[in-house]
Symmetry: C2
Subunit: 233 residues, 2 copies
DNA sequence: GGGACGTTTCGTCCCCCGCCGAACTGCCAC
DNA sequence: GTGGCAGTTCGGCGGGGGACGAAACGTCCC
């Protein structure tokens, strides 16, 4: 597959909206995506087949449903990078409806970005880890010795060695386009997000990618990382 | 600018070939790119205007020439990532002509990848730095203390702190699609490549992106990093 | 100044691709 | 089985965009 063919898959507004929707890291059905993008089911079906053939999406059939999700972290990173570059080239537009505005502010507060935390929560976690010297960026972004100990203490496991050269980076900085700041992705970001969901520090709001910090989660984040989230915001 | 619009810029074979050609890190004239891609000058001119408007390319006018290059390291990284993903999705084709084959083998030996070293030379340098503990990848890819000292000893300067959060990473692993291995990019990769060119350890072959290791360079690489390049390959 | 050359603008052609509706295939529930 | 729902396949329509050549523009060299 050529660069142009790959880019061509993302060059259509409908297919691009599918991919950004799937950036919440979950599996959607073909019908959900069709309604989300405002196209006929037949149109969505054709688009999905092409995205899957191109290796960007993976499907899972269950009964009469076709569940579809991003193929792997590499595909997610690619789409994130493209979206970040496009956003940087010319900053986006403001929401027009109240419903959209509410959703956007919820997502700006806390959301998933593929499989890690984003929004103000994601940036706050990233900042806290930096401030406490658990990750450092002065010689390439990396987890420190202290960071490894802290993670072990919190019961969060990380592989000791990278899986293989060229594999998923252990920690990766991901540009947050609501905050215009970076948050943590990679294996570490995914582990933190999984832990937060597993232990109910955060929970999903409805079917979108927005998250709510539970009262339990707020306390834990304060104790563990000194994060004080403004509840009004 | 939307994701789809950005991807649309790269979705055309002619524009994509421009971008991959420019991955050698140098500035090409509009006419050179037109001949390279096999299209009329008028066609190339229109494509270039669109790529520049989209922020992927930057231009510099000199007399009756229009020099064009990749806009910045972020644009280069984006194109590299797309090319690597496309190549991974379905491995490429073998060359058909002798001329093409010769060029490919020269580029497989040593070439520039935007502003850093790639090919077997790039991978060898990357491996050597890893083996000697000058960079480490066990907690995120980073330059070690030893590495900083070694660089200072070799007269290669690196900024102490990242320029700004979200800026160019100090060191970045870049997938080498001839070697199917990673080599070093980012600020470190660029500094190494610049040093190698400035001190004539390597020199460019003709107008492509291929490099030749000079006899002086071969000796220096052996002394400094213990790299033994097979001259037959 | 004159001619060559690199580049651009414009007009035109044509193919590709995204969209829909209609009809069909499976799967599930009653 | 029978109806209903999710998804797919196909034909046809329409628009956008990439290609070229011709002509204009600006720069450099003699």
């Amino acid at each position: 597959m050529s660069l142009a063919q790959l880019a061509g898959l993302l060059a259509d507004p409908t297919r691009a909206s599918f991919c950004t929707a799937l950036l919440d890291g979950r599996a959607w059905t073909a019908g959900e995506l069709a309604r989300y993008a405002g196209v006929a089911p037949s149109t969505a079906s054709e688009h999905l087949s092409r995205l899957i053939a191109g290796g960007l999406l993976a499907e899972e059939r269950q009964g009469r449903h076709r569940y579809v999700r991003l193929a792997d972290p590499a595909a997610a990173a690619l789409i994130e990078d493209l979206a970040a570059f496009a956003e940087a080239a010319s900053p986006g537009r403001t929401p027009r409806t109240l419903r959209e505005s509410t959703r956007q502010s919820a997502e700006a507060r806390a959301r998933t970005c593929y499989d890690h935390l984003a929004g103000r929560l994601g940036v706050a976690v990233s900042d806290a880890l930096h401030d406490r010297g658990l990750v450092a960026d002065d010689a390439g972004l990396a987890v420190t010795e202290d960071g490894r100990a802290w993670l072990a203490g919190a019961g969060i496991e990380l592989p000791v060695r990278p899986v293989r050269a060229g594999g998923r980076p252990l920690v990766r900085s991901c540009l947050d386009w609501t905050e215009r700041r970076t948050h943590l992705g990679g294996v570490l970001g995914a582990a933190l997000c999984r832990t937060a969901l597993d232990r109910s520090w955060v929970e999903r709001i409805g079917s979108g990618r927005a998250l709510r910090v539970t009262s339990d989660g707020g306390r834990t984040l304060r104790e563990l990382l000194g994060i004080d989230l403004d509840p009004a915001h």
